[in-house]
Symmetry: C2
Subunit: 187 residues, 2 copies
Amino acid sequence: MLHPLRQHIEQITPLSDKEFEYILSHFTRKKVRRHQFLIEEAELVPYEFFVVQGCLKAFHTDRNGKEHIIQFALEGWWISDYQAFFNQGPATMLLSSLEEGELLTISLANRNKLCAEMHKIEHFFRLKITAGFIAMQQRILAGMNLSVQERYEKLLKLYPDLAQRVPKQDIAAYLGVSRETLSRLRS
Amino acid sequence: MLHPLRQHIEQITPLSDKEFEYILSHFTRKKVRRHQFLIEEAELVPYEFFVVQGCLKAFHTDRNGKEHIIQFALEGWWISDYQAFFNQGPATMLLSSLEEGELLTISLANRNKLCAEMHKIEHFFRLKITAGFIAMQQRILAGMNLSVQERYEKLLKLYPDLAQRVPKQDIAAYLGVSRETLSRLRS
């Protein structure tokens, strides 16, 4: 069976065995527990994460202690605090694991090295971050234009198995509504 | 004097005269009038735009006719409806010019061709879209956490001369407040 990262990259560009071995040597395997923090408040963010198995959430806790979820990540998704990761500054959000799982981590130096050495990897990461940019821009648009009900349906369409894997309060925190409002939407 | 596009690309990667001439040959110059539409509702979006001179806004008009501004673009910024541009689908937002100006336009085919032929251009566009992704993610975070006053100050910090160049109602439409609320913030 192909490695999940290889499968994932080969959706965009073919790789030889040797190329994939070389790429993989720049990543580190990391097992995560449920509720483990991968990015903590105001700390540096040395890694980007690729989800091999599990479910993560990137979130922000506001001055009133209310949690807002910026992004979920399931198998085959990349996640980090990109502002902090690319600028090597302090975290602007938190990242934690909702399930036991397995990640691959890559440092900025290794990511830049792979991009510089292999044009096809720079191409791969350009397409990935472009998809992320589009998703963020569409999320801003949705916030301007869609009802909570429509955004809820859009979320379930984007991540069909999310409702089974994520606590209701996290779905509510992504949509920016209370659990009670979410329950009314679900019924 | 260096061409503005060359100056802009060379902030990331050096170019020879021959390389720049080749890159520029993939763009088309476009003069724009004030209030000219560059992306119209539901139409295809064949171009990305680089602002040589002028000021553009990407926006969305909701079901109640209220305008929401997604992004401004001044000199040295790239702008398009990236969802529509990269997927060659119908527009999800509108783009119009706030001032008379000059743009460079590039088609998706030419952009992909330059990226495939020149690793340094793929690198340049990867860094540019990464900065865009970070800006969008930080905008979502700001919407979750900052007051309108703080978001107004952040906008003026990001675009110091915007207040002089953009009508007050457009700044209000970016912040998602009424003109009256904005006037209170400004005083």
